[in-house]
Symmetry: none
Subunit: 101 residues, 4 copies
């Protein structure tokens, strides 16, 4: 049961010169760096899209639409009817159980 996974045991710091990281092979370190870079690149993309969304909402707001309501619309359209009904029923139930609003 050989173990070549990057984070597993294997010995460390042969010398005090090394501040860190000789638990990982050179290859694994490079690979790790690549992975982190890909992730951070994707997070940038994500932020960009999020920003675009913000802009659309801002623009809509500028034209007089109510952003809060727009968001609710989008959310409701995403949610299926059954779930919605069920949730409303539970709310009513709880409310009446504690004696109304």
């Amino acid at each position: 049961m050989a173990d070549d996974s990057p984070f597993s045991s294997a010995a460390s710091s042969s010398s005090p010169t090394h501040t860190s990281d000789d638990v990982l092979t050179q290859a694994a370190q490079t690979r790790l760096r690549t992975i982190i870079e890909r992730i951070e690149r994707l997070e940038l993309d994500k932020a960009a899209v999020a920003n675009d969304l913000k802009e659309v909402y801002a623009e809509a707001k500028g034209e007089g639409f109510d952003v809060k309501i727009l968001r609710k619309i989008v959310r409701i359209r995403k949610m299926d009817a059954a779930k919605r009904t069920e949730e409303e029923a539970l709310i009513d139930l709880y409310l009446s159980a504690i004696g109304g609003l």
Copy 2:
């Protein structure tokens, strides 16, 4: 596989006397009320603390301190602390990843 959770299913209002549902047992209704009360009490506490904070900032402002700067200092100090915590957690994680200490 008994089910004694407050909702389950079961039908409602056997009699018109009850404005509220009795899908929840009397006990569950009481319990629910208690929970809601505790929550609402805690939210009051929370509001009180928030108010105290506002007052401290207002007082500081009255003495000529720049609130925006104050907030930023507090924020940076919080970030410091958080980062330290995260770093410690990372170390623990590394340690466990290589098979405990």
Copy 3:
């Protein structure tokens, strides 16, 4: 004090032919539809990026990297960046507080 914002007030459904309200002008309705579409398109993009991220993590995991550690590293690096930004902002604030540079 003209009001050309999409909602305002005004009454509804002059005729039973219309299932929907005509409180919104035809133009506003079209605009609204366009906005919703743009939003939903962007949410698709967002989901796609999120999916790519998941894949990178999954792949890394397949190579033996610990996902939790990876995430923490990314998180700490993000905090670093944020902290640096905050610190620069603080300096600017200090500078303006003492009357510019």
Copy 4:
């Protein structure tokens, strides 16, 4: 128009020995420290209350209550009737404007 506010102009660093902070008088520095401490103390309180809340919800969940619904209940009770009605009306309006769900 004398200016004795802590953050205002006044000259600085007479010597390179001082890394910082002689823009503020000794008294102001002490005062600043006190303020920061009070703020951080209050933030601890705030965190404690938030934690208590979490516990109440967790406990309720343990007894079979649906946390999501509990939160909605609390929110609804806080929100006044008028607002709620208005919001629902707007949602219906928008929905019908774009031709239903």
